[in-house]
């Protein structure tokens, strides 16, 4: 199980790096889907099967397909790939990579003296949903209103 965890983590990190370095948008999207599926496996191993399934269905399924549809609609083609290549240089990455690397180093330094063995206890759908429709019912309603606002504004913005 622990080997699966490290394998999925490595796949997630490598495919995210490939996504950031990618010139072709559609290829980048496919790498992002791979990364999200690897994170879904990590969720499953951490004992959150409901979150893993939702990650696969909603993130890798719905949201990424939405991206793909919009990319097909815009139909940018080879021209955008060449443009991306001209924008991407080694120089662009230096300052952001140093800053993010410092941030990450600080974070890892904080985590260094923090040792807990995680015994994954499976938290199933029933526990999650009994909380979701118990104390968190207001949050669910607010989320539905947020989705409605997203729907209306996406319709309005994408209209001709």
């Amino acid at each position: 199980m622990i080997i699966l965890f490290y394998l999925a983590a490595a796949i997630a990190i490598i495919s995210t790096v490939c996504m950031v370095l990618q010139n072709n948008i559609v290829h980048g999207l496919i790498y992002l889907i791979l990364s999200l599926l690897a994170v879904a496996i990590v969720f499953f191993l951490l004992g959150a099967p409901f979150a893993a399934v939702l990650e696969a269905i909603v993130y890798a399924g719905a949201i990424m397909v939405l991206f793909l549809f919009v990319m097909m609609m815009l139909n940018m083609g080879q021209h955008s790939v060449d443009q991306e290549r001209s924008w991407m240089g080694g120089r662009v990455f230096i300052a952001p990579a140093i800053m993010s690397g410092l941030l990450l180093a600080q974070f890892l330094n904080v985590l260094r003296d923090y040792e807990f063995e995680l015994v994954p206890t499976e938290i199933g759908v029933m526990q999650v949903s009994s909380l979701l429709f118990g104390p968190y019912v207001l949050a669910v309603e607010l989320a539905s209103i947020l989705l409605l606002a997203g729907l209306v504004s996406a319709y309005h913005l994408a209209k001709k």
Partner: protein, 103 residues
């Protein structure tokens, strides 16, 4: 070989993914890649919540992940609508074009 996953490795994975998304947001000029990197960052924070939920054995972290999922879906819908409108007006997805705001 230990059969349990060390919690700090889960949090490290979340941190690394978050920083990769941050690098993507800071370096890319194509707004679609910026939106995708934002997705990576949101996903990494969701992963941190799941790790914490697994550590404490509570379902609350998964609820927070569901909220992040909802937020990501709404954000992507609005962001893609904006990208479509931008492509119609400027025929490009370069964010530098939008640096001058005129009315």
């Amino acid at each position: 070989m230990p059969q349990t996953i060390p919690i700090e490795h889960g949090l490290m994975l979340a941190g690394i993914l978050f920083c990769l998304g941050l690098i993507g947001v800071l370096t890319r000029r194509n707004i679609v890649f910026v939106l995708m990197s934002l997705e990576v960052m949101l996903n990494a924070s969701g992963l941190a919540f799941i790790v914490a939920a697994s550590r404490w054995g509570h379902a609350d972290g998964q609820i927070m992940f569901l909220m992040i999922l909802t937020l990501a879906a709404a954000e992507v819908a609005v962001g893609l609508g904006l990208i479509i409108q931008m492509y119609r007006r400027f025929h490009t997805t370069d964010i530098n074009v939008l640096s001058q705001m005129k009315g």
